[in-house]
Point group: C2
Chain length 688, copies 2
């Protein structure tokens, strides 16, 4: 600590504006620390790490009331010259630990020298992530052992961290204790530690230790563990950048496609939950290995994992039988966030001391994935009333503004992900993702994933020769159904007419109903891709569940319209807002008020991975969110039935009417039996 | 909280003497809690657990200034009657949670109703253990889940513990989370938890959960992990009683008999430390299983383990390569105490959430076992200067009083444990443990373990027919060597004479030296048990190392005599003080000032297992103990050489002279070569 005297030079930092008087000779890094200026350093001011680069400004600064002379800082010293020679120092930059105060000076801290620097996300509409990770690298110089004053190496390392980094106390797991002694000796008593600040009052823990000054990077995994897919992002813990991303099917699918069938599997098969836990943990290990290979890093560089997932996945990940989540009152074993060792979850494909953070759950049907969406989209900070819909096998729905946030989940089933659709498939090259049907000719055109051309382009066949045309993915089937409605081939009840009724040979009989031929590849040995009456029913059930959930929250909020809609989820990102509104998936709003947030749950996981402040924030937010339980709410069933029409029957849709023409058609077909059967199944899923 | 008004009845508790005024109707348990009186309760005052039994006293108490009327407490109520009918309540006892204050009253809290009750130890000379375990049972009633106010079962359990037991916050490991939901439902939202208060600032953790009010007992293991043997005590965590004890050979012996050979094994064989770690952990698991079987309890009832061990065993238990402990400056990887999950040490033969506490080490050669001895014997609280010697393969030596405590270790080798002795064996039935040699006839008589008769008793042969006479254990060889000296068969240098020189046929030639025949069982196919010149050399080396260590501490303390000597260790308990002094193992003190503390390290482990206060105490004490490193101290070598004589050559031994006659004899034998060789080896062991 230095003490300033009257007449000491004035040091002003930008962009923070913090200022103070410091004696001549004070290093800029020291001044920054004393003022609480956000200036990074891994080596603690020893001129090794170069993280504390700053840019002095010279000349007159009337705003600040100072004039900075050319000799306001000490001259370049040997450390800076050496660093510049070997690594190169940007024009105008100095090392904050080497340059000392000589006169009044204005110092700019460039963003890459800030610890809490912002990470620019691709989604421009959303807030940036402010880096505030739990794990930091610290270089320390440790006292050598003295036989006459015996103390353990760990205790001397802890002393050094206290003296050099103001870390009050640390613990070390056995994996670190095992390598502590050789590492200290290899580094000649200079080491770099990866230090983890525990959640809440858990204290500091050394996750890894490296000899000497360690420039290697440390990583975390942000994992969105969905019922159908697992998405993981390998994220640099120093700057928040994503080094690699990977996805995998959730191997639990073989135990049941949707959540309730997995709960049933656990109930019917003793040990079934253990089997599912083992499967998902193995898949996560495989993903971690894959990402480490993709990113060309050692798995031991992965020091943290953040999980977001729905409550059933949450319990199965933790090894808790999810049976209580399958029956009222849908009690969670635990709802708070969890901090664990990766080893407790058998996650061996990473550093043995890696720490896991699982976001809190909102309720028995609204999980950590919904909490992550709330963290990414911040409905609680929205002045206008926003409806956020995370579409997946289960839809998580949030409605709120700065006053109040409501949440529910709705059992949409896997239809939106292309499952339970006759020609359905996952979103992969060759899948039809966009559809248009000409209202006059009733002829379709479409686009497939992996090709930018429409199918009526002369070059389309050549361009898709590699992938072929294999099926319809979730966004494709939604557009197809909506386009059938707009083209007058399907009525408001979701019934399709015959070729005679509709006047197009595209409509072919299939059993007692009709199907619309989207693409006939049979001549070349390819598939016949049709939209069947059953496909339409599956989509109707899914969208009714989604809409009914949203409507229930609107009832609870006492509103009959929302200001804007955010579609989230990997799938939500690809939905055409117009077609979603034609289908009646979402309430009627101006089209420009429907935005996509991409994989908001995954983004929430990344934010929590990069920021301990965000972890605390979402814990506080979750406690404020009011949960609405769809499964026991009679109005959910009413909304569900009413929302079956395309678009839904009860609410007005002025914005949609202004946008498209919905033809008034009606067909007389004989598909009543199948429809009733499916509706019953959906009711069962909804728990009523 | 109740508030007393003037005129409220006076309640006086004995033996604490705490007193206060309480409104009529206040339960005695409530009054005790408010006054901080140590009155146990598991059920929190619900009349279930019966732990809060108290004895009201009636009549005049001039000392307390009160007269207690017959109606000073409420009448027996239904709960007490039911309890008495089913379980029986001792004469005069009441349940503290049921009996309420009606007038001035004197309440005695019997010792079995105190939480911090004292445990009487067998060793009457030592202080009792005051129960203050880290793990307690608490009965709680948990709110049922409410769909409209969703929260996890764990969060509601935490709320209940906060409200009913003032536990600020708790965590639960996955093993508890897994059984939480079925247990709460089976117990109809009433459960008993085993709650562990973490060391220092670690907070509370639920180690196990049981449906309803759980009367089952919870246990801990106090483990003294020695180089040669592992001793474990299955201890009741409610009252400190030892349910079962078991010992096993340390399986690491196959990697090296003494510590330095194990360190060498780890240095010479890559992965050797891992092999040794695996072996010792497996042995501990086997011991835990064995003890659970012996005690007829479930292994899941073992919730805590406390370890005491020397630094090499400490590192090998934790999986840390002990190589640094084999070379100056003998740096420990960590010296502080450790709190771990049993799972981290692969200790699967107990509750999956069991917690491990490892006592702190004093220095690289003075381990947690020495700390445990200090905890059991408290040299820092001794007004007179006490020398405590824990004899094993390595001897731990403490010297001190209230002013100052010094510690060192000395590499005695395994001779005191019967190893490296020609007819040596472990202390087991059939082993010679006591020896007398008639100075006139030179004939021996002895006792073997498992038989109370001396060998010259007419019934001896019949009594030992079962076990036979198989060898000499550590205490037997010490007595034999001392008796040889007292009988004039061995001179002060440790040399034995021939049959001609000594006038007894018991002395037989063996190579270039002579051996004394203690027992010839060859006629019956049994062994010829002799004391060889080599055996004497081995004992001389061991006792010289021990004495040199003690002498070094006396130098450091600036004294040339001590007030009393405590012999500790399983072996130390069996040493005859007279023979130890004849040998010159320990400094000269009055014979009645030499006491045995039994397995003091094991006792220290038991104390730490039963008391969190003791854990904090030994951590503070260890920081005060001054460590003397024998390996680099030139005077150690000088003392070592001087102590070779029997008794040692340099220090006066007035007490010994008063006790026994030491004949002045001298033999001329030719065993010089062997002696020099062995001395060199001992020097190497001492690290010089």
């Amino acid at each position: 600590m230095t003490f300033s005297r009257p007449g000491d030079p004035l040091v002003i930092f930008t962009p923070s504006g913090k200022r103070g008087h410091f004696p001549v000779g004070t290093p800029i890094l020291t001044a920054a620390r004393q003022l609480g200026v956000d200036l990074d350093s891994v080596c603690g001011g020893r001129g090794i790490c170069s993280k504390c680069q700053i840019t002095p400004s010279y000349g007159a600064f009337p705003k600040h009331g100072v004039t900075v002379e050319a000799d306001a800082l000490s001259e370049w010293n040997a450390v800076e010259e050496r660093y510049d020679r070997i690594r190169g120092l940007k024009e105008g930059r100095r090392l904050g630990c080497q340059a000392t105060v000589q006169g009044d000076v204005v110092i700019d801290v460039p963003s890459e020298s800030q610890v809490h620097r912002q990470v620019v996300r691709k989604e421009a509409s959303t807030r940036p992530i402010v880096m505030d990770p739990a794990t930091h690298l610290h270089y320390v110089e440790v006292a050598e052992p003295d036989m006459h004053e015996p103390s353990g190496d760990l205790e001397r390392l802890a002393d050094a961290l206290r003296a050099q980094w103001s870390i009050p106390s640390v613990t070390a797991p056995l994996s670190v204790l095992r390598k502590l002694q050789p590492t200290l000796r290899k580094g000649e008593w200079k080491v770099t530690v990866a230090l983890h600040k525990g959640h809440r009052d858990e204290g500091f823990r050394i996750l890894d230790i490296y000899p000497g000054f360690h420039e290697g990077r440390i990583y975390g995994l942000a994992i969105d563990l969905g019922s159908t897919t697992i998405a993981a992002h390998l994220t640099d813990l120093r700057n928040g950048s994503v080094l690699a991303s990977a996805g995998a099917m959730n191997p639990q699918i073989r135990f049941g496609e949707d959540l309730m069938s997995r709960v049933s599997y656990a109930m019917m098969n003793p040990g079934g939950d253990v089997e599912m836990t083992r499967a998902v943990r193995a898949a996560i290990n495989a993903l971690a290995e894959d990402l480490a290979k993709q990113g060309d890093i050692s798995p031991s560089q992965i020091l943290e994992v953040v999980f977001v997932c729905n409550p059933v996945m949450h319990h199965l990940l933790l090894g808790i039988d999810p049976v209580e989540l399958g029956q009222a009152p849908f009690a969670l074993a635990t709802s708070n966030s969890l901090s664990l060792d990766a080893a407790e979850l058998d996650l061996g494909a990473m550093n043995p001391a890696a720490r896991v953070f699982v976001l809190p759950c909102i309720a028995g049907h609204v999980g950590a994935d919904a909490a992550a969406v709330a963290l990414a989209e911040e409905p609680d900070k929205s002045p206008d009333l926003v409806l956020i819909v995370d579409v997946g096998t289960n839809a998580e729905i949030l409605l709120g503004n700065t006053t109040r946030v409501l949440a529910c989940s709705s059992p949409t089933g896997p239809a939106f992900e292309g499952a339970q659709i006759s020609s359905g498939q996952r979103a992969a090259p060759g899948a039809i993702e966009r559809v248009e049907i000409d209202p006059a000719t009733k002829e379709p055109r479409f686009k497939v994933i992996g090709c930018d051309l429409w199918s009526d382009d002369p070059d389309f066949d050549a361009a898709t020769a590699g992938t072929g045309i294999s099926g319809i993915c979730g966004s494709g089937i939604i557009e197809a159904v909506a386009e059938l409605r707009l083209a007058g081939l399907m009525d408001a009840k979701g019934l399709m007419g015959s070729a005679e009724q509709t006047g197009t040979a595209r409509m072919i009989p299939q059993g007692r109903t009709h199907s619309y031929v989207l693409h006939d590849g049979t001549a070349d040995g390819g598939p016949l891709i049709t939209v069947t009456q059953g496909d339409i029913r599956a989509i109707q059930l899914a969208k009714s569940a989604l809409y009914a959930g949203a409507r229930l929250l609107m009832d609870e909020m006492g509103v009959d319209k929302v200001d804007r809609v955010v579609l989230a989820g990997a799938f939500g990102a690809h939905i055409s807002p117009k077609h979603a509104m034609v289908l009646g998936m979402i309430p009627d709003v101006p089209l420009d008020k429907v935005t996509s947030a991409g994989n908001a749950a995954g983004t929430g996981a990344r934010i929590a991975l990069c920021s301990v402040a965000a972890r605390a924030q979402i814990e506080a937010t979750v406690r404020q969110i009011h949960k609405v339980e769809t499964a026991i709410e009679p109005r959910f069933q009413e909304h569900f039935v009413a929302a079956n029409a395309v678009p839904h029957a009860t609410d007005p849709f002025p914005n949609l009417n202004a946008l498209v023409h919905l033809p008034q058609v009606s067909f007389n077909t004989q598909s009543g039996g199948g429809e009733g059967g499916r509706r019953r199944r959906a009711s069962e899923r909804a728990g009523t």
